[in-house]
Symmetry: C2
Amino acid sequence: VNPLQLIPVENFPMVKPGDNLAAILVGCLEAQRITLHNKDILVLAQKIVSKSEGRLINLEKVVPSKLAIELSQKVNKDPRQVQVILDESKEVLWSTPGIFVVETHHGYVCANAGVDRSNIEQAESGEWLSLLPQNPDRSAAHLRQELFKLTGQDVAVIINDTHGRPFRMGGIGVALGSAGITALLDRRGEQDLFGYILQNTLVATADELAAAASLLMGQGDEAVPVVLVRGYRFQAASEPDSGASTLIRPPDKDVFRYPARK
Amino acid sequence: VNPLQLIPVENFPMVKPGDNLAAILVGCLEAQRITLHNKDILVLAQKIVSKSEGRLINLEKVVPSKLAIELSQKVNKDPRQVQVILDESKEVLWSTPGIFVVETHHGYVCANAGVDRSNIEQAESGEWLSLLPQNPDRSAAHLRQELFKLTGQDVAVIINDTHGRPFRMGGIGVALGSAGITALLDRRGEQDLFGYILQNTLVATADELAAAASLLMGQGDEAVPVVLVRGYRFQAASEPDSGASTLIRPPDKDVFRYPARK
């Protein structure tokens, strides 16, 4: 087993809609004198992927529905922001002042559908928020292809975000999207140290990598939106690459999906 | 922001009840020519901590109660094993063939109360299972003290285990116990890149570290029960050290605690 290195990518510039993230990333790595290798893993913060894809919305242009206005009083939030959250959601599971716990259209259960104001440059008028990428697996696959074109190296890409969890306090990094890596590793049937066959051993490898990279992604003034993970022997993605969507537990297999106390 | 290294501790021997884990660990590190530094983090797999503490049980000596026998038919499990799981639990939240989702006496919500057979040496008679440490924070604090005595270095210790999760498929490493590090980091009130005050930013740092280390802890023939994390700037624990128990969400703050569909 080799050591594993988590290398923060330095001096990543502010990302704007339309920016070519892969090209920016390769430029930053060059400045850091790092050459990408096959089997390197790049973990990118959701926020820069969303920005590059123009997944930004100006609240000034949002007209809240009657439902959004009604809910906004309950949770003490701007009704236009509530409208944006509803637009990004399949279902609201629960709400409390400031927070909706929703299932997004992708299937993530998270706070406020990932609609967020932090680290978003504000223009003179209105208030800008970021949305999650429309299809984070596709975003990851695209980045992976672009990195291959630019460097000839076969890397894995993970897009991470910080989500809260039932049962546990605090958020941790999770994989919203991935490409080139088996996100959910099935170790059932392998033997333990004494030849005993492992029983329930599905490992969310991409989530563990997302959490690891998250350690270096400060949200304050030392923002590190990309972390290079080097030295981890991972299983390549199967073809076709099912990405990180394999990590979403189908509602019918999830006994904790519907809280008893709404 | 510095790179972060995850270094697997090599050739860790099989652990037996009564073993001095800290001394074994320092011996392994010496053989690897690694000297511990202040602010290093050592992540130890729960299994070796449990073994060293003698948290093992022989099913031959367990007499199942009437309830255990009844439940064992429902979940298709050895009634004696069910008894052990019940003994380790405060409450059974849910069950399905093979698995009880319980709240342990510590407050962890996990499968089968952490009672597990994998990587446990079996004797000629009976069947041995391991239990979680009685007080993982205390175990971590003890290891930290012992490591200080042996090396003079002020390290942090995390005891990790792999837990499943609602909403997400697959298990990931989580922090059962910790010492010397603020397990739950409160970043509320810090500013983002544009001076915006961060709102809901509690970060489960110890869980992210536990997940990161878990990447290197194969459960197969290349078992790595200890990982050294070097280069992570963490917040020291406050005094008194509240450990990883701060990561347990109190039931009254957990809307997903009671599943609607038992």
